[in-house]
Amino acid sequence: MAVVRIEIPPRSPYVGVVRLAVSSLARSAGLDEEKVDDIKIAVSEACANAVLNNEEAGSDDPVSITWNEDDRSVRIEVADRGPTVDTSDTDAVDTQGFSTRAVMSYALLKSLVDGCEFEPRDGGGMTTRLLINR
């Protein structure tokens, strides 16, 4: 089972590097272009959430992205050391009735991949787990 790991500072300029690396891994894994695009967005969402939370909290610990593939699926984990986030409020709207960015992010994650879970980490931070069936 092939494992690739990427660690970036929890800052926005590095999310593009992850997106590029992950799309190359997805193409090498033989996924079609639509799935590659879905994965790019899902990973970018998970990284953006981590980066925004870490920037807000002033945390400098790296965000780690782990790519795991086997014959049946690809599993991607995005783990940070920022604050513990309440991910239960998934349809928050602002005073004018628009969805917040966080809610749109959640909608995209849930829709674009076959599985998406959020979990607080031992020692602080969050893990986002993405599952993509082949």
Partner: protein, 111 residues
């Protein structure tokens, strides 16, 4: 990663041509440009997404923020987009009901 932002004033509309990837790093640049336009008095804004090859929730957040700003001045924000992979993002998040989405800049400006 560079985000291309090219503004053209056509009649009463300001048209912003966006080129590149709109993500957590580049979205603030788009936000700044849209705030600048509104503060200059451009309340009817068209954002042309035909040159955009990536868009995520941070970009959507900026577009929703700009919509609120132009509405506060009785203005409008419409989009130009024909790319399936970008339209998909607007569909999933329900924003196809929030933004008028056109196939060409001409259709968006009513020219």
């Amino acid at each position: 990663m560079e985000l291309g932002l090219d503004v053209q004033k056509t009649g009463s509309h300001a048209v912003v041509d966006v080129k590149g990837e709109i993500d957590v790093y580049t979205a603030p640049k788009l936000r700044e440009k849209l705030i600048e336009l509104v503060s200059e008095g451009s309340y009817d804004v068209v954002v042309n997404l035909e040159g955009v090859d990536f868009l995520d929730s941070t970009g959507l957040g900026v577009l929703v923020g700009a919509l609120k700003r132009v509405k506060a001045h009785d203005g409008s924000l419409s989009l130009v987009c024909t790319q399936d992979k970008i339209l998909k993002i607007f569909k999933i998040t329900g924003l196809t009901k929030v933004f008028p989405i056109h196939e060409t800049v001409e259709a968006a400006t009513g020219a």
